[in-house]
Symmetry: C2
Subunit: 189 residues, 2 copies
């Protein structure tokens, strides 16, 4: 049999793409194998089963999203940085719902887990945006959690098709960003 030239990264990438297309629940070892032109058991030479594959997708997702946030906020500050970060996050979740879902499913106890590293980097990018608002030090964590909750909540509700009404979702998102921007400005220092 001709070698297929697979490795953990290519298997993960194929799995991530499939998860985006079918939803994370639709992901299966069989489909990944088929997509790679290989029989299912062959995947086990590169990846330690479906749980491991899912976790690798989570790491990929956190890394990619962290990069997207970094790129988006590069050279911007305050309101601009906030808007750019928010849009970047929303777009990433819309384009890669399966990957993002994998990231949310990830549970980890090990602090050396690459997922922890990647999501810490991701959170740092969001925290950097907030720094432009010069909040009190002890309020920063609360603001970070609030911002993250909003963005995460909005994006997941949107990809789950949970917004009824036909009012434009883009408008709502813009409104929400303006809302948090103004709120942060008004927060006592």
């Amino acid at each position: 049999m001709a070698r297929a030239g697979l490795d953990p990264a290519s298997v993960t990438e194929a799995g991530a793409t499939l998860a985006d297309e079918l939803g994370l629940d639709g992901l299966s070892m069989g489909l990944v194998a088929e997509r790679l032109g290989v029989k299912t058991p062959s995947l086990y030479k590169h990846v330690d089963g479906l749980a491991d594959l899912t976790h690798r997708i989570a790491v990929l997702s956190a890394t990619e999203l962290g990069d997207a946030l970094r790129d988006a906020t590069q050279g911007r500050s305050d309101t601009d940085a906030l808007a750019a970060a928010a849009q970047a996050m929303r777009r990433y979740v819309k384009e890669h719902p399966g990957r993002y879902a994998a990231g949310n499913r990830a549970r980890t106890t090990d602090p050396h887990d690459p997922f922890v590293v990647a999501s810490t980097r991701l959170l740092d990018s969001l925290a950097a945006v907030l720094r432009g608002y010069r909040l009190e030090a002890d309020q920063e964590i609360h603001a970070l959690r609030t911002l993250r909750s909003m963005l995460h909540g909005f994006a997941t509700l949107e990809v789950a098709d949970s917004f009824q009404m036909d009012t434009d979702v883009d408008d709502s998102f813009a409104w929400m960003i303006a809302f948090i921007d103004q709120g942060l400005r008004a927060t006592v220092r």
Copy 2:
């Protein structure tokens, strides 16, 4: 064989409880049957398979959460109502993560689906809270989506154990509620 006295509601309840205990992904027909003291195929006399069971749990969840919001906001207004609704939602998701997850997974096209009815009622309760802030009519939907995103985002991140740092999560939640309260007050009318 002595009859077990099951019906769709009791099967759904058992499934919901199991989903809360094990996570929605841990839910299986076999476990539900075992918990009810019955063999797996018997469940199919009451429920149309795992997908149907999950959907019924989603309806249950939306209904219960709607009731909780209604109860919590009863007789309160403005800031009090907002805080009560927010706490009620957070508590529900913490106590019933599996049910709530089922509600988020629910996809539906049919407008007569009881899930649509229940979640509309739920959203109405949140909208009622906002009415106390006397926003412009065309801003209400945006504010509703923002509020919902925040609450949904915070609660799901919390039950997914996604908040690192050991800063008190209760404090962050209170901060977030105060944030949105002040923001809504400051919104131009």
